[in-house]
């Protein structure tokens, strides 16, 4: 072969390689496995006559993407500002889950890779959340992020995680979080509207069981999308249960004096109140009801924030007695994994896990299950965002640590990223302790109904 031919062939090969490389999608590894035989038609001219021959090439070797020595998972929660109380709890829940996962051998389908957590503060508004998402992704390149508890912050950060193809295991409850077509967002917990409906259904069923008639309801919420979504569910449930909504109002979550609204609620003749507080407002309202001695038959919280969490119970003391709230996590679930989590959380913090902690504990375990499945389904490239997303969608859990700490008995995500089988439980403060009282099948204690201190 002449030097000229060799040079030409070398040039063609190099050019072809460059072209192939340019056509490949950026940062996307080659397909994992291909079994197709490649056939190429080549036309050449021999003695002035064109001839076509078929060259058969062997199938390309499967390209196995080298795995890192650890799997980086991001914690993006509000750790400063008005919502830090939730973010701090969520972070502890994730850290305990990661420790449990690593203690049990990491991600086994990937050779026991350990989870390494990286943390970023999401601040207290949408802008800081977006910046936090950009920062944690650019600095650490996590395969998934858990966060951000506050729905408007989740919506903002999910723009970034979707653009960067990073899985976001969300702990925000507003219905619309999963309704904006985010591909890489999964929310294991029940929606906010389901919480509102749960609060109403719990009161109606409990009243019926206790032989008490309730027909008029007052529904109030702090004026965020979260409060509104809870109220939407509560209003629908009130209609479905034949109740009359005699009072409905939204208020700012930083309200400093609730006596005006408390007086109005009592004057409306409502038998019971459904309230979606954040945290501070729950304390302000509970104290105002108690101080004014204008207490309806029942006051049920919706959406898990306030009333039944350890901080609210500590702040309210005896005033907290009888208050309920809906929870996306069942701290009383009688399973070994849940007991292990509750015990460890109590050792660290001195109190049982709040909803934020519980949601993120099982959120981390669900991520672990998805990673395991991705390792089995796509052994050559399990951390590819598309593969991990496919694993999330293929998850169908009915047992294991995730289920043992999850309020329902089935985890399977729909195309929007929600689990249609998710439901909330109801906790009630009894003798200074939050107890699961509904659904009755999961109850740790019987619900106290109506309130012992009602003035109605």
């Amino acid at each position: 072969m002449s030097k000229k031919v060799v040079k030409t062939l070398a040039f063609v090969i190099v050019l072809g390689a460059l072209l192939l490389n340019a056509c490949a999608p950026a940062a996307t590894p080659a397909p994992a496995v291909s079994t197709q035989i490649v056939q190429v038609e080549v036309t050449r001219v021999v003695a002035g006559t064109p001839q076509t021959i078929v060259v058969t090439a062997p199938p390309p070797e499967p390209v196995k993407v080298e795995l890192p020595d650890k799997i980086i998972v991001g914690i993006l929660e509000p750790l400063t500002g008005a919502h830090a109380v939730f973010g701090e709890e969520a972070k502890i829940g994730i850290e305990i889950a990661a420790k449990h996962i690593n203690d049990e051998g990491g991600i086994k389908s990937m050779g026991g890779l350990p989870i390494e957590l990286v943390t970023e503060d999401a601040g207290e508004d949408a802008d800081s959340a977006r910046l936090g998402a950009e920062s944690i992704i650019s600095k650490h390149h996590p395969v998934a992020i858990l966060g951000l508890y506050i729905s408007r912050m989740t919506a903002a950060a999910s723009e970034v995680t979707d653009r960067e193809k990073v899985i976001l295991v969300a702990d925000a409850l507003v219905d619309s979080v999963t309704q904006s077509g985010r591909r890489y967002l999964f929310r294991p917990a029940p929606k906010a509207s389901a919480h509102g409906a749960t609060a109403v259904n719990f009161v109606v069923e409990t009243a019926k069981a206790k032989g008490v008639t309730v027909s008029k309801v007052a529904i109030i919420n702090e004026d965020s999308a979260f409060g509104r979504a809870n109220t939407f569910g509560a209003l629908n449930a009130a209609i479905n249960n034949g109740l009359t909504t005699v009072y409905q109002k939204e208020y700012p979550y930083d309200i400093t004096d609730a006596s005006t609204i408390v007086n109005e609620i009592y004057a409306s003749g409502a038998d019971f109140v459904i309230q979606t507080p954040y945290f501070n407002d729950g304390i302000v309202f509970a104290k105002a009801f108690s101080d004014a001695k204008k207490i309806p038959m029942f006051i049920a919280g919706s959406g898990a924030s306030g009333f039944t969490d350890p901080q609210s119970i500590e702040a309210l003391g005896p005033v907290a007695e009888g208050y309920t709230n809906t929870y996306s996590y069942n701290p009383g679930k009688n399973t070994p994994q849940n007991k292990k989590f509750v015990d460890e959380f109590k050792t660290q913090t001195g109190h049982i896990p709040t909803e934020a902690a519980g949601m993120n504990y099982y959120g981390m375990w669900i991520l672990k299950e998805a990673l395991e499945l991705s390792g089995q389904m796509f052994p050559d490239d399990p951390l590819n965002p598309e593969n991990l997303r496919s694993a999330f969608l293929a998850l169908d859990l009915t047992s294991g640590p995730a289920i043992e700490t999850y309020p329902a008995e089935h985890i399977k995500f729909d195309g929007a990223g929600d689990n249609p089988d998710a439901f909330a439980v109801v906790l009630q403060v009894q003798n200074g302790e939050p107890k699961v009282v509904w659904p009755v099948a999961d109850a740790e204690a019987e619900a106290i109904f109506p309130r012992a201190d009602t003035t109605r």
């Binding site: 004026d223 501070n280 101080d291």
Partner: protein, 288 residues
């Protein structure tokens, strides 16, 4: 029914407004005497509420008794902050003063967040819990007592400013610093006293607020903004005007919540703020 609601709202607002006036009194002292707009004033209220919480919890005192310790404590903190931060900004432009007090605001807020882990704290009980009825109107014990104590403190401060030598020195420095200096008033000490007293007054407000509220690291902002509005409405130089302004702002807040929308309460308050600045920039009751 509407009349009853209006009466109830007016009463609630008036009682709340008296506490607003007490909070604003500290701001007015600092601004009136030193010409320094203290953006950290609301956060001093937050610090006082935390101090109230810890004193009440550790000593098993009622919140109402805690100013016996928190008042001198906050006075001391005020004096230290004056000599370390505020004094250095006095001869500089407004921008430097604003930067210093805004920085102080964030410092206090972040410190509270680090120390108290963002978890709101409230006292479980107070001797003034509960309420009584006057006709169909509910009077909350905690609000009534808070209003009465605020009124008494405002009168006492007014007497201090008009009848005592240090009080007269503060007023003299407020009216004309150069002339008062020529008359033997040590302006540095007078400024330090004003800043210390302005800060210490938040201790009493903090004690009263903790009888019916909780405290969190981020709540100082709302108290700060409210006190600016009350001060702008009242103007400088009239303690009675301050009290009336607090009552008017408090009543506007509760009436808005009852008859319009709780979310509109700040809208109405700031609308009042803008109108007063537009119509009477020195405030309704201001003498300078």
């Amino acid at each position: 029914m509407i009349f009853q609601t209006a009466l109830q709202s007016l009463l609630d607002g008036a009682m709340l407004g008296a506490i607003y006036a007490l909070i604003t009194l500290g701001l007015a002292l600092v601004f009136g005497v030193m010409n320094v707009v203290n953006f950290a004033h609301g956060d001093f209220v937050m610090v006082s509420m935390y101090a109230t919480f810890w004193v009440a919890t550790l000593l098993a005192w009622d919140a109402l008794a805690t100013p016996l310790i928190t008042f001198p404590l906050l006075f001391l903190i005020g004096i230290i902050i004056y000599y370390t931060i505020i004094r250095r900004t006095l001869r500089h432009s407004y921008v430097i003063q604003i930067a210093a007090t805004v920085g102080l605001q964030y410092f206090l807020r972040a410190s509270a967040q680090v120390l108290f882990q963002a978890q709101p704290k409230a006292l479980q009980s107070s001797v003034v819990q509960g309420s009584f009825l006057v006709g169909n109107i509910t009077v909350l014990n905690s609000r009534l007592l808070a209003a009465v104590i605020s009124l008494v403190v405002i009168v006492l401060v007014s007497i201090f400013l008009s009848k005592t030598w240090p009080g007269r020195a503060i007023r003299a420095a407020s009216d004309d610093l150069d002339v008062s200096s020529l008359m033997g008033v040590n302006y540095q000490r007078t400024y330090a006293l004003s800043f210390g007293l302005g800060t210490a007054l938040t201790a009493i407000a903090g004690g009263l607020l903790m009888t019916f509220q909780q405290v969190s690291p981020v709540m100082g902002v709302s108290f700060g903004l409210l006190s600016y509005v009350v001060l702008a409405f009242a103007g400088l130089g009239s303690t009675i005007g301050l009290l009336l302004s607090g009552v008017i702002i408090g009543s506007a807040e509760t009436l808005t919540m009852a008859f319009w929308d709780p979310r509109a309460r700040l809208l109405v308050i700031y609308l009042i703020f803008i109108v007063v600045l537009w119509v009477r920039p020195r405030g309704i009751f201001g003498r300078k």
